[in-house]
Amino acid sequence: MLNQIFVKPFVDMVSAPDFLLQVVWEGLVSGVLYALIALGFVLIYKSSRIFNFAQGIMVVFAALTLVGLHENGVPALLALPLTLVVMYLLAMAIERVVLRPLVNQPDIILFMATIGITLFLVGFGELIFGGENKVMITEQLGIPTGSYTFEPWGGLLILEQKDITAVIGAIVLVLALLLFLNRSKMGRAIRALGDDHQAALSVGISLSTIWVLVWFIAGIIALATGIVWGARAGVSFALEVIAYKALPVLMLGGLESVSGAIIGGLMIGILEKLFEIYWGQPLMGGNTETWFAFVLALFVLLFRPQGLFGERIIERV
């Protein structure tokens, strides 16, 4: 038994490095997605202290809008910007109808409000697009679907092109976001708002402008996630659950840390895949991916409540 846990998995890894590489790659791809979703949470939490329960359904809603528009005869490359417009309108509506009237209410009320948004979007989405599964318009968007085959160490490594596109796309999106947050005036205002609400108000930063902006960014992220995940698993309301995978990422990375969300996402993606293949399947009959991340997060919470990379609370002594 001990041999099974502590020795054999590592022997397997070393004896078939090409397979190990394949596993890590698969993990990395899902990790990138977890990181993206977690980023959506972090941005909204930082700027408004709202834990946005609706992030998952926004992924579904964005993907459904994109596919739905295409089904109704809008060319794919036009459907993409149109979906962005829809996400912007959604951000504006949420700010106006939900956030503005609830400003200054306790956090838990705002959290409940995001659950309300979730339920509304589920119903609204089904009303417009119907409840059946759809296929993501991968080819129409110009995402390549072939695959590259490598033979490292005489083994076999298959990289799907759409996975490569997803990883590159996610990296570009994240870099653009970091650049925006750190270099632009609006990005600075978002970070300022995260630090001190009152002070941000006092220098004339308008809450509603910033809120619409962060919810729109969350919408863009949702769309990107929806495209990638939809290409792998189809577009349905079941997609919503991958947002819950972002929860352990947030516990690991901390609710307020952009880099934490990225590193946490990648870590969980890779670790859960490795665990599944080398420990879960031989020892527990598989399907460990559904719970591994949560157990890992639990252990992190025991030892570091602010998460591994939670923003250090600056306190002068």
Binding site: V103, N104, K185, A192, L201, S202, V203, G204, S206, I314
Partner: protein, 284 residues
Amino acid sequence: MNAPVTAQPGGEPIKGDVDAILTVNNIEVIYNHVILVLKGISINVPRGGIVAILGANGAGKTTTLKAISNLLRAERGEVTKGNIVFNGQEVQSLSPNDLVRLGCIQVMEGRHCFGHLTIEENLMTGAYTRRDGRGAVSADLDLVYDYFPRLKERRRSQAGYTSGGEQQMCAIGRALMSRPTMILLDEPSMGLAPQLVEEIFQIVADLNAKEGVSILLAEQNTNVALKYATYGYILESGRVVMDGSAVELRENEDVKEFYLGVGGEGRKSFRDVKHYKRRKRWLT
């Protein structure tokens, strides 16, 4: 109301004591719909002047400033009576953001710097409402660094890790970046060493003289405040109990006793000595 007036932003001659940049007319403020905090306060700030609001904790100084800058609403407070006019415009219908755009900005009590942003980023957030281009903003950044050379040394450090004095300078500098015509300065001396307080007040006086910024100051440190201000109001539990030029107030026996810590014993507030009638300034 004949406070001496020092300068005016436009450089035009001052028409006399009628030219007020800010008038607060008998305002009443209620928090949470039930707690009456201000019970009729009237204040007048001449263009280019430094006016001080004095009083103990809970007298209503901060609330008065927040009523003017409209930050009150974010704390569930409300102006229920009276009105406030800044530069000829009623402020009640404006958002804090509009007011900053119009040139009235508040430096909050307790400094409130953005802890995770660097000093320079903090200063730049002050320029959020400006639309006059990068050149003008960076010129003003240099101006702020001229007034506060210490900030220039610390420009790359996170504000959360700087000293209390530096944070206070950062907060004032940040307000300055919005090109204000009026700064509402809440308790700048809080928690600072006496020589630092003097240094900061000296800079504020400089700003007033050279940049023509009008200043409404809330202070507990009566001594320093009356040294730099031209006119003062004394608040006690939400009412103006006394007002007068800084010289008058400094010489007043009661003020000396209660706020400057000189003179007799036993009497601790105006309530115990005589009844000052609230002046119905809005009628005159």
